[in-house]
């Protein structure tokens, strides 16, 4: 961390349970020629937060972002930035910048020219402009690439230029629409870390769009789960994963098994379930049922077990491959096993 970074926040403050409201959407609605893209969205984002919009394809995430950036105008509702309604303000007059999914770098300008573009539009003095561009490029580790054209960069490098081009303007709010969507998995994981690191460094509020739950969970202070143009739940990663308020959220954020017991449906996260050889005893207070091992998939960090219970319920369990080179349960497909869980971890849905 360098001189720019704010004092390291405690883990508690990172969940952003308080703080000043930077952006407020109330009753925002947008339809395209009859097709409703955003039904009704209410949202509050706090200053300094890393806020993520997560949801399946077509659920209205991009549309919401475009409304905030000003590329579209809402049919109804208000968009307040710092308490001021932005509905009739043109994009170039909003203190908001966007990192585009396909980067949208200007192909005829060098990296430095791309990054300087916003500053020049704002008539920042040449010397200051030069300094800020250099600093932004240093931050995204592209100081040596200033003279290159976008076409001469790799995907990850382009992504970072897109980021530098936005943050160099020190916007109040940075919008990122699946900024890592086009990258390889490995590169994406590296960039996730970098993005998070940069956000902490510059202290800008990030509004992030993704359809990748893992990405959302690992990076965000809070997450809004979108479905069909509406928000189903807003909460910290733990809240949406552990305590989903709707079946849709339960299913979309992470995988889970559904068991019906005593007329009620419960969600069981796979890591909460243990698979044991038949005959072993479940720990105190744990619930155990017998079933048949249907599949076992080695996934490196852990192994996934699929067990079919007597009543036909399918239970998925994962167990870390912690003990040694091979998984612990040496059962073959089709053999009987015992599945065990703590009833407290079964979440009613």
């Amino acid at each position: 961390m360098n001189a720019m970074s704010p004092p390291a926040p405690t883990l508690a403050t990172k969940t952003a349970s308080g703080g000043e409201i930077l952006l407020r959407l109330s009753g925002v609605r947008k339809a395209y020629r009859g097709a409703v893209a955003v039904e009704s969205v209410d949202l509050e984002i706090r200053r300094g937060e890393f806020f993520t919009m997560l949801g399946p394809s077509g659920s209205g995430k991009t549309t919401t972002l475009r409304l905030i950036a000003g590329f579209e105008q809402p049919d109804a509702g208000t968009i307040e930035l710092d308490g001021v309604d932005m509905a009739r303000t043109a994009p170039f007059d909003r203190n908001v910048n966007t990192v585009f999914q396909d980067y949208a770098l200007f192909p005829h300008m060098s990296v430095a020219e791309n990054v300087a573009y916003g500053l020049k539009a704002k008539r920042v003095a040449a010397a200051e402009c030069r300094d800020r561009v250099a600093e932004a490029l240093r931050m995204v580790q592209l100081a040596d690439f200033a003279g290159r054209l976008p076409a001469q960069l790799s995907g990850g490098q382009r992504q970072r230029v897109g980021l530098a081009r936005a943050i160099v303007n020190r916007p109040g709010l940075l919008l990122l629409d699946e900024p890592l969507g086009a990258l390889d998995l490995k590169l994406r994981q590296d960039m996730q870390l970098e993005l998070k690191h940069i956000q902490e460094q510059v202290g800008i509020t990030f509004l992030y769009v993704t359809h990748d739950q893992e990405e959302a969970l690992s990076m965000s202070d809070r997450i809004a789960i979108f479905n069909r143009g509406e928000i189903e739940q807003i909460g910290t990663p733990e809240e949406v994963y552990e305590r989903p308020t709707t079946p849709f959220v339960a299913n979309f954020v992470g995988s889970s098994s559904i068991v019906k017991r005593r007329g009620r449906r419960f969600m069981l996260r796979p890591e909460k379930v243990q698979v044991l050889p038949v005959g072993e005893r479940a720990a105190f207070g744990f619930h155990g049922e017998e079933g048949r091992l249907e599949d076992r998939v080695y996934l490196g960090m852990f192994t996934k077990y699929v067990v079919r219970l007597g009543d036909g319920t399918k239970i998925v369990a994962v167990q870390p491959n912690a003990e040694g080179a091979t998984g612990q349960l040496e059962k073959q497909r089709g053999e009987p096993v015992l599945v065990v869980w703590n009833p407290e971890t079964a979440w009613p849905v």
Binding site: A69, G70, P91, D93, T98, A104, Y117, G118, A121
Partner: protein, 302 residues
């Protein structure tokens, strides 16, 4: 499994020929490239060579017979004459003026097509731009005579609204207007092609970074549309450079073009060597123009 290979291997002549082509890609290349290349080399390039060799010959003015002895007289006559220099300058200047005017007229038009018009209107505008190509070039040039002449439509209309008469028939102004008019579709089409390829989110990115419309136009749209502009200018510039009919029809005194001199020498005086020598000039101008244009990516927009 090996029987499957057998069934696959069977097949008629086209299949075996296809296999042959796959194994020998050069053969495929050859059979595709040979006909068009032969056409261009044996007919077109050969014709150009024949022509420009002729530039170093001379002709008997009376009998019209070619004298195939090597001479630089034609070039000497051209280079030492104020008249020919003036004509060349006039032609190039007019071609440039027409190109600039067409670019100015076409840019907002093409922009509207690419960015503002809906799909239906876009198709309609596209067809409307191309439609004039079907109504005779000559007839349209001629129509301008009727518009611009002393007692023509323009002055009639000016009189109707009480404005003073203009006397631009048979002048360079007339040529400028008519050339601009005639070649305008050739500028709009490639410019539209270029504008249409600019991703929509470049406009958004530019606005997002605080640039207003004019700045986006100057810094993003114009540079990215430049290949299309140059592609269009190849047409407007070269078509103007080589025309001799419009000067004849709507020009006044002192409006001969390179094309008129060339035409007068080849089509009238039968002095092909002199015509060829004078035609070297537009040939060189266009060759350089094309090399630059290709470097700027204009060929992808034509």
């Amino acid at each position: 499994m090996s029987s499957a290979h057998e069934t696959l291997r069977r097949g008629g002549v086209p299949r075996r020929f296809s296999g042959l082509l796959w194994r020998n890609p050069r053969l495929g290349l050859g059979s595709l490239l040979a006909p068009p290349l032969a056409w261009f080399i044996l007919i077109y390039l050969a014709a150009l060579v024949v022509l420009f060799v002729a530039a170093f010959w001379s002709v008997d003015p009376f009998t019209g017979e070619l004298d195939r002895t090597w001479t630089l007289d034609n070039f000497r006559a051209i280079l030492t004459s104020d008249t020919y220099r003036a004509i060349a300058l006039r032609t190039v200047a007019m071609a440039a003026a027409v190109t600039v005017t067409d670019a100015v007229l076409a840019f907002p038009f093409a922009y509207y097509m690419a960015r503002v018009a809906g799909p239906k209107l876009r198709v309609a505008l596209f067809a409307l731009v191309l439609l004039p190509l079907w109504s005779s070039y000559l007839a349209r040039v001629y129509a301008w005579r009727l518009i611009l002449s002393h007692d023509g439509v323009l002055n009639w209309a000016l009189k109707l609204v009480g404005l003073p008469q203009v006397d631009i028939g048979y002048s360079r102004w007339a040529m400028w207007i008519v050339f601009t008019y005639i070649w305008l579709p050739f500028m709009i089409m490639p410019l539209y092609a270029a504008l249409e390829r600019i991703p929509g989110n470049f406009f958004e990115a530019s606005g997002d970074l605080g640039a207003r419309g004019w700045r986006t136009t100057a810094k993003i749209v114009f540079p990215l549309a430049l290949p299309g502009l140059i592609a269009g200018s190849i047409f407007t510039f070269s078509l103007t450079l080589g025309d001799y009919i419009t000067p004849v029809l709507v020009g006044g005194p002192g409006s001969d073009f390179i094309g008129n001199v060339v035409y007068a020498n080849v089509g009238i005086a039968n002095n092909v060597p002199f015509a060829a020598a004078y035609a070297t000039l537009p040939l060189l101008v266009m060759a350089i123009y094309l090399l630059v244009a290709r470097r700027l990516g204009a060929f992808d927009m034509m």
